[in-house]
């Protein structure tokens, strides 16, 4: 009975969090769309700072991760394909695998760990030091002021990062193909593009847009509901990263399934 009660409790609280995160998401969309009509714009400086932080700051690490992943996929697939003398198929395997799956997902995971955690920690600290309350007393909405710029920063930058990560991952595979498998560089590239289609790229980018929404909303939500001093900020940060990771993998599965059945 106790066990069932506990499961029930977890389900109920998960449902409540989901509802609150959705409410935050709709508030964010409200300020984005209806705010300008009320002559309450979101600050350009704030958005710019977030674009730089989320995008340019994450570029090197995202490229790094993607580059080595490209190399790993190339080697792992060559390990299998070389038995059939089909080494050239390494090219499309890397290209399609990176564009559809690993580029968007790994970039999102890196950004969730870096930017999502920073968002939760920053907003959490602002919450426990009364700064959020100070904004509210000045009749400044924390969602317009803090959440919307972070949301936009990720929404714009995560797909951009994903494109760069895709290119870098394919380049990593290319290096293995050319220098280790002795494939002709020109043939490697044409073969990649022969198999990789436009839809492989755009489905990947759709995923990265969804991941951007997840990372920004979870980070802001966890930050804004922080309680209990430094310990609370630590908890909020951890919880934000863990929740983002789980949701990214979950939504990746759902979206992959969706595209698999609809975009044949």
């Amino acid at each position: 009975m106790n066990f069932i009660e506990r499961i029930g409790g977890i389900v109920i609280s998960t449902g409540r969090h989901a509802k609150d995160v959705l409410a935050l998401f709709f508030d964010t969309l409200f300020w984005l769309t209806a705010g300008p009509l009320k002559n309450k714009f979101v600050k350009k400086e704030g958005i710019f700072a977030q674009l730089v932080f989320a995008g340019i700051g994450s570029l090197v690490i995202a490229l790094f991760v993607s580059f080595f992943t490209g190399i790993v996929i190339a080697m792992q697939s060559a390990y299998q394909l070389s038995r059939f003398g089909a080494n050239i198929y390494v090219a499309p395997m890397v290209a399609v695998g990176i564009a559809r799956e690993l580029g968007p997902v790994l970039t999102a995971l890196v950004v969730a760990g870096r930017v999502g955690a920073a968002i939760a920690a920053e907003l959490g600290t602002m919450k426990v030091t009364e700064q959020i309350e100070a904004l509210e007393t000045m009749a400044l909405d924390p969602i317009r002021f803090l959440v919307v710029p972070r949301f936009l920063g990720l929404l714009i930058m995560l797909p951009c990062l994903t494109i760069f990560a895709d290119i870098m991952g394919i380049f990593g595979g290319f290096l293995v193909g050319v220098f280790n498998l002795r494939l002709d560089p020109y043939r490697y590239i044409t073969f990649s593009f022969q198999f990789m289609q436009w839809k492989d790229v755009w489905t990947g980018l759709v995923k990265s847009v969804v991941f951007a929404i997840i990372i920004s909303m979870v980070g802001c939500y966890m930050g804004l509901r922080t309680k209990g001093g430094a310990e609370g900020v630590g908890k909020a940060t951890t919880l934000s990263v863990v929740t983002s990771f789980i949701l990214i993998i979950l939504f990746d599965c759902l979206l992959t399934g969706f595209f698999y059945f609809t975009q044949k």
Partner: protein, 265 residues
């Protein structure tokens, strides 16, 4: 002359879970006066302050600020009222990511259409009032606690509010800085003729700044009066609080179970 009531609370009650924090608080605060809400830790005075600025909604009872019933306002109307009040927070609550000048100018930039050059002048004037002109470019982390409090004060008065609220303005400051803050509060309320509401348990500060005092205990108002009336109060709880003695009707230790029983258990 009839005094104008700018803040009025009627039977405000609030519970957090099972714990009753406010148990029917009724206060009237007049225009231009300095009103101090005092009481021990956990007596509900900070919660009361948060109700007065519209940050918390009471479970029952009514609060009106500048003649407007807070519970009946829409979000936009509430924002209009909030622009007429300023709040100085216990932890100063300066925005870490902005320098001092930006902290003070933020409400002006957001709520007025003033030119940047005009805003710069206003910021300098406000910082001059708290004795910190020339510190605009420093970050909040680079200045002392007392200076942060003063910047918080400058920010609270940036919009020329009609009412300024102070939450524990002297908590955690050394006696001299606390005296400076007290003097500043008096100066500002006299110079700008604003209504001032202070929540504190610092008795020295209470008697030096207050026009009237309300003492809160366990979510209820024990007594309201001028500093002299409070000093001469016959209520033993008030007397114990003023003298700060450990023995008296206010029990510091809350004994829920029998001590011996709990030790053996």
């Amino acid at each position: 002359m009839e005094k104008e009531v700018v803040i009025k609370s009627e039977n405000v009650a609030k519970k957090f879970g099972d714990r009753t924090v406010l148990d029917g608080v009724s206060l009237e605060i007049y225009r231009g006066e300095t009103f101090v809400i005092m009481g021990g830790s956990g007596c509900g005075k900070s919660t009361m302050l948060r109700h007065l600025i519209g940050a918390l909604k009471p479970d029952s009872g009514k609060i009106s600020l500048l003649g407007k019933d807070l519970s009946k306002l829409t979000d936009d109307e509430l924002d209009t009222v909030k622009k007429k009040i300023g709040m100085s927070f216990q932890s100063s609550a300066l925005f870490d990511s902005m320098n001092i000048g930006e902290n003070v100018s933020l409400p002006l930039k957001e709520h007025t259409k003033l030119d940047k050059s005009v805003i710069d002048i206003v910021v300098k004037m406000k910082l001059e009032m708290v004795g910190l002109r020339g510190f605009e470019d420093l970050m909040p982390s680079q200045i002392s606690g007392g200076m942060r409090k003063r910047v918080g004060l400058a920010r609270a008065i940036a919009m020329d509010p009609e009412i300024v609220f102070y939450d524990e303005p002297t908590a955690g400051l050394d006696p001299i800085v606390a005296g400076v803050i007290d003097k500043l509060i008096i100066d500002l309320s006299k110079k700008l003729a604003i209504t001032t509401v202070v929540v504190t348990h610092d008795m020295k500060s209470v008697f030096s700044i207050a026009d009237r005092i309300a003492m809160l205990y366990e979510g209820r108002v024990l007594e309201v009066g001028t500093p002299d009336e409070i000093r001469k109060s016959k209520n033993p709880m008030v007397q114990q609080f003023i003298s700060g003695s450990a023995d008296g009707p206010i029990k510091f230790f809350q004994q829920k179970d029998d001590y011996l029983e709990q030790l053996i258990k």
